[in-house]
Each structure stands twice: as C-alpha cells, then as structure tokens.
C-alpha cells in the first residue's frame, strides 16, 4: 500500500512540475528554470512508473540519475524495449540540458532549447502513460 501511495505522490509531483515548466516558459520567460523543471517533471514521471513496476527505491528515497538508464531499460512493466530506449534517450538528453541550464553560466539557453525540452518531457509522459493503459 505504501508503494501505491508513494507512486501517487510522485505522479502529483510530476504533474505539478509539468505545469510549472510550461508556466515558467510562457508566462515569464524563465528559460533556464523551465528547462530544469522539464527534466524534473520527466524524472518524477519515470519514478512513478518505476514504483508502479514494483521497483524498490534506494534507502535514501530517490534513484540518482546515474541509475535511471538501467532501471528504465530493465524494470518498467508493460513497456516495450523500443519504448524504454526512447524514454531513456529522452531523459538522458533532458538531464544534460538541465545541467547546462543550471551550471553553465556562459552557455546560451534560448526558446528553442526550451521547446526541445518540452517536446522530450512530453514524449516521456506520453510513452509512460500509454504503457499503463
């Protein structure tokens, strides 16, 4: 039961960040923050699916990004290999964009980057939603 509740909480966080990413972009033009939130939304959506696939999270609570590829490829229930690989690729690119947005002060983050991030975030949500139908 605890896992079901936890999965629901992660799903809510994913949905909240999904909305926040769009709001940061369209409402205020905070592009770096929007990229960062887009990654987090996708991360939270992946964690939701991992919990729904009976994956036990590490004792500190959250899987690190570095463990995500293996977890995605080996554990998601109802997800084909091709779809898991697509989710994996999307979250990996989102992670890298997030690192650039948050830590590379002299890199240029523009509207195109934000749109790419949203597209990847949307792909993760769509693929994982379809997997559960």
């Amino acid at each position: 039961m605890r896992e079901v509740r936890l999965a629901e909480l992660w799903r809510e966080m994913a949905a909240d960040s999904f909305s926040a990413a769009g709001g940061l972009f369209s409402g205020t033009g905070h592009l770096r923050s929007a990229l960062s939130r887009a990654y987090y939304a996708a991360y939270a959506r992946v964690v939701t699916s991992l919990l729904q696939s009976d994956v036990v999270l590490p004792s500190r609570g959250n899987p690190g990004h570095r463990r995500l590829p293996a977890l995605i490829l080996n554990n998601l229930k109802g997800v084909s290999g091709a779809r898991a690989a697509r989710v994996c690729g999307a979250i990996d690119t989102l992670y890298k964009l997030r690192l650039v947005a948050d830590y590379q002060a002299d890199a240029v983050v523009d509207e195109t980057d934000a749109r790419v991030s949203f597209s990847l975030m949307g792909r993760v949500f769509k693929d994982l939603k379809e997997a559960l139908l």
């Binding site: 890298k96 964009l97 690192l99 195109t112 980057d113």
Partner: protein, 87 residues
C-alpha cells in the same frame, strides 16, 4: 580506484580527445580535463566543457550525444558524456 581503472579511464579520455581532434570542424568545440570524470555504480561519467563561451545549450547537448555514440563504438564500458555539474 585501482591502477587498472585509472588506466582504463585514461584510455577513454585519450580516445575521446582523438575523436574531438578528428571532428574539430563539426559543431561545438569541447574539451575534457585529465581529471574530468566521475566513476559511480559501474558507470563512467566523462565531463566535457565548451572550449569557448556562448555555446547554445541544445547544440552542446547534441554534440555530447553524438560523441557518446562514437566513443561507445571505440571503447567498452558504460560511458556517459555530461556537462559539468557540482560533485
């Protein structure tokens, strides 16, 4: 980290620099420091930074992804190429 691991990662970095030299005209110029890596959970994270300021975020990431694919053809192991981040 064992001396064998040190040698393995040094070879990865050398191969990566070779790829960067070969493709120096393609896309965003990137560099990697001798100690530009983190090893964790069986994965090696190679940290590349732009050689000049003002690169565009997606072009930087796209370049990392391309290099990652090329490097995986050349060396064994779980490798990810990433932008710099706090430890």
């Amino acid at each position: 980290m064992s001396p064998q691991d040190d040698g393995r990662i040094a070879r990865m970095i050398a191969k990566l620099r070779e790829l960067l030299r070969k493709q120096s005209g393609n896309g965003v110029p990137l560099v990697i420091a001798d100690d530009g890596y983190v090893e964790e959970g069986g994965w090696v994270y190679l940290i590349l930074t732009p050689a000049k300021p003002g690169v565009r975020a997606y072009e930087y990431v796209e370049r990392l992804n391309e290099l990652e694919c090329e490097l995986r053809k050349e060396v064994d192991g779980n490798i990810l190429l990433v932008p710099a981040a706090p430890d």
